[in-house]
Each structure stands twice: as structure tokens, then as C-alpha cells.
């Protein structure tokens, strides 16, 4: 008995079934297009997603030669940078041996007014971190804030320049008139200056540090019209209620204090 070429091992071959199925789908598309597209739209979405993902995946391997070159170039650059880094580290180490560290100690503020006594800050760094008595505390932008007045192992206290009995030499105005700035308490500063100096409200007050550092702004000028001097009411540039960290470093304040207490006139 001869076997039909279209019918192989079974009565109906897979090819015939496939052809029948394809013809059925073609008829479905022609006779009921809406139903047909309703069935196949999700399949097309899956197909689109698959195509997108596979393109993204295979694109990664597309330019293997370029990637290899880029990889080699980056490795060379990396090696060069590592060498440069080593050389710079050696230079830094040699410079650090010659020059003492002037960057200071960064300390977070544990308590500030009103949590701490007025015109003091409690820092989260103490003698363990290298803080010593007489070091000066600077806020953001290098604004001088005060002097370390007490040190524990892990904490220290800074007395602000605005504390009563605190004095610091400084300058005021565009002509840099020298003044002695004294603490007035509650975050305020005062200074006395000759009326003829021509200081006006809004003038900046500077304190010594590395150069001249702005410490406050003249907000009001008080004085008896008969007096030759006036009192400058100074508002600090930084709000002590909102300071989050300070830099503490030695500026020689202790040395200056020792000089002023032992010798009335500096040599």
C-alpha cells in the first residue's frame, strides 16, 4: 500500500495539521478580524517586550572589539593613575612631615544654646581626638566662634566670643579700624570705637585667624552725643542655634593669653 507523502507515520501529519491551523487563522482574520486581533494583541505585546530585551542584551556583545580596546585603555589609565596616586601620597607624606597639620579637628556639636549654657557649645571631640585647652573653634566658612575652655576625654566645651568677659582683637569697617570685641552675652558682641572712625550699621567686623575672618555685622550704633566714642552692637554672622559642626585648631590663642597675662607689653 502506498503512503501519501503528506501523511507520514500517522494518518494526519504535523505539516497538514499546521497548514490546516494556519488556514483556519487566516479565515478567522478575514471573517472575524476584531476577534482575531483581540486574541493576538497580547501575543504581539509579549513579542515586542522580548525583542526589546533581547536587543538590549545582544547589543552589549555587539562591539566586542571596541569594548576590548576600551577595556585595555582603561586598564592603562588605571595603572597610570595608581602610579600617580602613589607618587602624590609620597609627596603628601613628605610635606606633612615638614608642615604641621593645619586642617584642624572636625567636631560635631552635642549641645548648643539653649540646651547648653548660653554662649557655650559642647563638642563631641575631646583630648582623645587631640583637642586641647585654648584651641579656637571655627564654623562653616572659617568664621571664628570661640575658644575651647574645658576638655574631657571625648567631649569639650567651647566658650563663644559672645560670652561675657570674652574679648578678641579685631577690625571693623572698610578701613579696618582696630577694635577690641567683647562678649555681651546671649550671642551678641559689642565693641567700642571712636565716633570719628565713621563706622556705620552694616559694616563687617573681622577677627584674626589665618588672615582676617568675618565674625559679625554691625547692627546698631549706640552712644552719647557728647561722648567721643560709640558702642557698636554686633550680630554674629553664624547663628549659634543652627551650627551643626565646627573645626577646632590651634591658633596660638593660649600662647597669646599667656603673654597678655604675664607681660603687660608684648616684646
Amino acid at each position: 500500500m502506498r503512503r501519501n507523502a503528506l501523511l507520514s507515520s500517522t494518518n494526519l501529519s504535523w505539516g497538514t495539521l499546521a497548514l490546516a491551523g494556519a488556514t483556519f487563522l487566516l479565515l478567522l482574520r478575514l471573517l472575524a478580524p476584531n476577534f482575531f486581533w483581540q486574541i493576538f494583541t497580547p501575543l504581539f505585546r509579549v513579542s515586542d517586550t522580548l525583542a526589546r530585551e533581547s536587543h538590549a542584551f545582544f547589543d552589549g556583545f555587539g562591539n566586542t572589539a571596541t569594548l576590548a580596546l576600551q577595556n585595555e585603555k582603561l586598564m592603562n589609565e588605571n595603572a597610570a593613575l595608581a602610579n600617580e596616586n602613589q607618587a602624590l601620597l609620597k609627596k603628601t607624606a613628605s610635606i606633612s612631615e615638614l608642615v604641621p597639620d593645619t586642617r584642624g579637628i572636625i567636631a560635631g556639636i552635642v549641645a548648643r544654646p539653649p540646651a547648653s549654657p548660653y554662649d557655650t557649645l559642647v563638642l563631641s571631640a575631646g583630648s582623645a581626638e587631640g583637642v586641647t585647652l585654648g584651641m579656637e573653634a571655627f564654623g562653616a566658612g572659617g568664621v571664628p566662634l570661640g575658644v575651647v575652655s574645658s576638655v574631657l576625654a571625648n567631649f569639650s566645651r567651647v566658650t563663644l566670643f559672645s560670652a561675657p568677659n570674652m574679648t578678641v582683637n579685631g577690625w571693623v569697617g572698610r578701613t579696618n579700624v582696630p577694635v577690641i570685641i567683647s562678649g555681651a552675652g546671649a550671642g551678641a558682641l559689642n565693641a567700642s570705637v571712636a565716633r570719628s572712625a565713621g563706622i556705620a550699621a552694616g559694616d563687617i567686623v573681622f577677627a584674626p585667624g589665618p588672615g582676617m575672618l568675618p565674625i559679625g555685622v554691625v547692627t546698631r550704633i549706640d552712644g552719647d552725643p557728647a561722648s567721643p566714642s560709640v558702642i557698636l552692637r554686633i550680630m554674629p554672622i553664624l547663628n549659634v542655634f543652627s551650627i551643626a559642626w565646627v573645626v577646632v585648631r590651634d591658633t596660638g590663642a593660649a600662647l597669646r593669653g599667656a603673654f597678655s597675662s604675664t607681660t603687660p607689653i608684648l616684646p
Binding site: 507523502a5 501529519s13 504535523w14 497548514l19 513579542s47
Partner: protein, 84 residues
């Protein structure tokens, strides 16, 4: 079983995979099932043919061609002395 898997793969490939893979599968399946290229071509045109374009349904035509070639080759093999 193999024929069924290949035929199904060809149809799935028509929807999901790139057309070169579909062509490859259809040609491979045609070794066992000569009607599959025609069926796959018809299926592809059912899915992707746009009558408004005015173009010919090439998938069906190429499928028919592949089927004709496959049938011809099979008929030659059947009548050859090698098969006995």
C-alpha cells in the same frame, strides 16, 4: 514527537522570535514535514500582511516555494535506488 516539537517551535518563532530564526526552523522542519514552510508562511502573512500596502504576501509565496522544493526532494529520494 520531534516533528511536533519542530512544527510548534516554527509557529512560536513566527510570533516571538526574529524572522531569520523562523526561516531556519521552517527549513529544518521541512526535511521531515514539507508542508510546514507553507503553513508558517501563511501564518506569518495572516499576522503581518497589510492588504493596504499593495505588496505581495511574500511569506506565503516563499513558504510555498520551500514546500515545493522539499516535496520535490522527497519525491526524488523516494524514487531513487538508494532508498530501494
Amino acid at each position: 514527537m520531534m516533528r511536533g516539537i519542530l512544527t510548534s517551535l516554527t509557529f512560536i518563532s513566527t510570533v516571538l522570535f526574529p524572522w531569520p530564526l523562523t526561516v531556519l526552523l521552517a527549513l529544518a522542519t521541512s526535511l521531515f514535514e514539507p508542508l510546514v514552510p507553507l503553513a508558517a508562511g501563511l501564518f506569518a502573512d495572516t499576522l503581518y500582511y497589510a492588504p493596504q500596502s499593495g505588496a505581495l504576501p511574500f511569506f506565503t509565496l516563499y513558504g510555498a516555494l520551500a514546500t515545493a522544493v522539499a516535496l520535490f526532494v522527497r519525491s526524488r529520494l523516494k524514487t531513487s535506488i538508494i532508498r530501494g
